[in-house]
């Protein structure tokens, strides 16, 4: 059942990311991005990464998307050009590659759900090992990421423009 959920969420995430690519409106694109981020959080939870799934919703789908919406409201972009309207081919010919890709993915998903074992899960006790790594072997990287976040927030706050 977990494997079916993984396949379904992965499909939806891929579909939402493709929709983001083909949206003319940046507002609709932000909704597609929100869908991808929430589906990725669901994938993290299905893989057993509970902390990362929670942080994904909190930071990405919460904070970053709010910033994107504020930027959209403050600086509304013009509607993007429709690249597909310039093509003289009929619509059903353009839909054929998408249909082929969908069929290929469906066959792959069927073989994945029937041929493989259960979905690999992250052991809950691994979170302690993650903390030990972040403040042990990766301490320099952690400090660098913290410094980067501090620097970015200072740069935004002190921006005179």
């Amino acid at each position: 059942m977990v494997l079916y959920g993984f396949v379904l969420l992965g499909f939806l995430a891929l579909l939402s990311s493709l929709l983001l690519l083909f949206q003319r409106s940046a507002y609709a694109g932000a909704i597609c991005l929100l869908a991808v981020l929430l589906q990725a959080a669901g994938l993290f939870l299905l893989l057993g990464a509970r902390l990362l799934g929670f942080l994904q919703v909190l930071i990405y789908a919460g904070a970053v998307l709010v910033l994107v919406v504020i930027a959209l409201m403050a600086a509304p972009p013009a509607l993007g050009p429709s690249r597909w309207a310039k093509l003289s081919l009929p619509g059903w010919i353009l839909a054929l590659p998408a249909l082929a890709l969908f069929l290929e993915l469906a066959v792959l998903a069927l073989s994945a759900t029937q041929g493989s074992g259960p979905l690999p899960q992250i052991d809950p006790s691994m979170e302690r090992a993650v903390a030990a790594l972040l403040f042990g072997r990766f301490a320099l990287l952690t400090e660098a990421a913290g410094g980067l976040v501090l620097l970015c927030s200072l740069a935004v706050v002190l921006d005179p423009g």
Binding site: F44, L52, L55, V64, V68, A75
Partner: protein
């Protein structure tokens, strides 16, 4: 093995969609959203690797990547807002001049 292949296809597909957004779209905000998609796909691949190999290093790197992505989004959006305040432009086609 097939589940791994499928997860790889999902990660690669989301990454390529983000890359296409970054390269093909002209609205700066949508380009930034494409960058977020690419980072998200990398995060997904890291978590899948961590789950498959039972390696905490993948999860640690995914957490660090989350912080870097948040910082990148904040700076990118503030740059877009600053650019919009200067000449009311939000298209990458209008950015033809670099000035210090």
């Amino acid at each position: 093995m097939s589940a791994s292949l499928l997860a790889g296809v999902f990660c690669a597909g989301i990454f390529l969609a983000g890359f296409a957004c970054l390269v093909l779209r002209r609205q700066l905000l949508v380009m930034l959203m494409g960058l977020e998609l690419m980072l998200n796909a990398a995060n997904l691949a890291l978590v899948w690797g961590a789950a498959r190999l039972q390696d905490p290093a993948g999860l640690s790197l995914a957490l660090l990547l989350l912080a870097v992505a948040a910082a990148e989004a904040v700076v990118g959006l503030s740059l877009i807002l600053a650019l919009h305040r200067q000449d009311a432009s939000s298209s990458s086609e209008d950015l033809r001049r670099l000035a210090g």
